[in-house]
């Protein structure tokens, strides 16, 4: 069995304030430390010897960050310790942000979703993660805190590269904010994987907003997952749809554009070429469903 090779100390601060102080202190002492939430990604990285911290700061006990708040004006606020499962089973989210529930059904198994957090998934920065494309499509805002204060960035700017985010070493993601979905808007997400619960070979989230007559597309966001170093907007594909009456033909063209914009790599499961083909098909199908939803919205 692959047990962790290096030893570490394990700390469990009780409040956010205490946690942030601890991070700031270790940072100034140049200690090798990692924050652990559910550990559903981190523990595997340690087993594989990819990460070998000297200490772990567990934030799972910070119950002040375990919440879901919905307000019809302000939208949804998800505390950093909210599990995938809490999101998946929330009636309020099912009613107002159905796409989040659909996305969560795709994340690994119930056991992982019971303990892993949405924020932890996003902080992990895996380009194959399911939440990132959806959060970017929904215009989410990411709130972070350190002893120096709080700041926010759009979800789109949060991930920089493979497993790299804008988070400072002494910073915690504290809240994910999702604005109310605008009127006449439909959002959908699908991934393609070998079996349900596996990481995606390719995924796409599409948000389409129509004008009041529900004819022309006034705004669109097409976000691809697993086919680049981060979740990425397919901006050329978006340009093809913007301002137009969206037809099947136009969706095929948008799919082709997205396929060219994507930047997948060969893996054991599929070649680069195959993944590019998938992107085209996914954008067309997901776009079609988003369009239907926008018409009904």
């Amino acid at each position: 069995m692959k047990t962790i090779v290096n030893g570490f100390e394990y700390f469990s601060p009780k409040t956010l304030e205490e946690a942030l102080k601890m991070l700031s202190q270790y940072d100034s002492e140049e200690k090798e430390f990692k924050v652990i939430a559910g550990g559903q990604s981190l523990n595997l990285m340690m087993k594989q010897g990819i990460l070998m911290p000297e200490c772990l700061v567990s934030i799972k006990g910070l119950s002040e960050l375990d919440y879901l708040n919905y307000d019809a004006k302000e939208g949804l606020k998800i505390g950093a310790l909210t599990t995938h499962r809490a999101i998946e089973t929330s009636d309020e989210i099912q009613k107002n942000f159905k796409v989040l529930v659909e996305m969560e059904h795709n994340v690994s198994s119930t056991e992982t979703r019971n303990y892993g957090t949405l924020a932890g998934n996003f902080c992990h920065g895996d380009p194959g993660g399911d939440p990132a494309p959806v959060l970017v499509a929904l215009n989410a805002i990411i709130k972070m805190a350190s002893v120096k204060g709080e700041r926010t960035v759009p979800a789109e700017e949060f991930t920089l590269d493979y497993y790299e985010t804008v988070l400072g070493h002494d910073e915690l993601l504290t809240e994910i904010q999702i604005p109310v979905i605008p009127p006449n808007t439909g959002v959908y997400y699908t991934k393609y994987s070998q079996i349900l619960g596996d990481f995606a070979l390719a995924s796409a989230a599409v948000s389409i907003t129509l004008d009041d007559k529900k004819e022309k597309c006034t705004d669109v966001r097409i976000v691809l997952g697993s086919v680049g170093s981060t979740a990425m907007r397919a901006k050329k594909a978006e340009e093809i749809l913007k301002g137009k009456k969206i037809t099947d033909e136009l969706l095929v063209q948008a799919g082709q554009a997205a396929s060219e914009e994507s930047d997948p790599t060969d893996s054991v499961e599929a070649s680069e070429e195959y993944k590019r083909e998938l992107v085209g098909v996914l954008v067309k199908r997901v776009g079609k469903e988003a369009l239907e939803r926008a018409k009904k919205a």
């Binding site: 030893g7 119930t110 303990y115």
Partner: protein, 158 residues
């Protein structure tokens, strides 16, 4: 450096001095001798090692033992009442839902968490919630039958 782990296992409070790099499955099997929790893929991909922590099914190979500090863990050893098997265990036997038995403790613990939360699941509920559990022997039909049967047995008990 070892650290103190205090948690409740199958209703009994436990205090151990452990290396914090140990996973829950290691402490259960090696320190507590509870070898009913099986350990297979070790990468979170098969759900063999599933136990219940604070009412939720979790993978003990993917959780550090220290993450269970202060929590309540139930393993397969905690289900039977003396010589009497738990109705879910009996339903697994009666429905031929196990052959080699390697995946069974994980399946049964996940089924327990599922039935505690939803006493009347549909077959689809079971498929969705148990989809991470791999079985090399039985095919999944008998397992689903066993869980549906267990749900009836548990309702009959009340």
């Amino acid at each position: 450096m070892k650290q103190i782990l205090q948690f409740t296992v199958n209703g009994e409070p436990r205090e151990l001095l452990i290396d914090p790099k140990k996973f829950l499955v290691e402490v259960l099997r090696e320190d507590l001798g509870l070898t009913g929790t099986h350990w297979a893929c070790d990468t979170g991909a098969c759900c063999c090692c599933t136990v219940i922590m604070d009412g939720k099914a979790v993978k003990s190979c993917s959780i550090l033992a220290m993450q269970a500090n202060g929590r309540e863990v139930t393993t397969i050893e905690g289900l039977a009442d003396g010589p009497n098997l738990h109705p879910i265990q009996q339903a697994f036997i009666d429905n031929w839902a196990l052959q080699c038995g390697f995946c069974s403790s994980g399946q049964i613990m996940a089924a327990k968490a599922l039935l505690d939360e939803n006493p009347s699941p549909t077959r689809e509920d079971i498929q969705l919630q148990m989809d991470g559990h791999l079985c090399r022997c039985t095919g999944f039909n008998m397992i689903q039958e066993a869980i549906l049967d267990a749900a009836e047995r548990l309702k009959g008990q009340k």
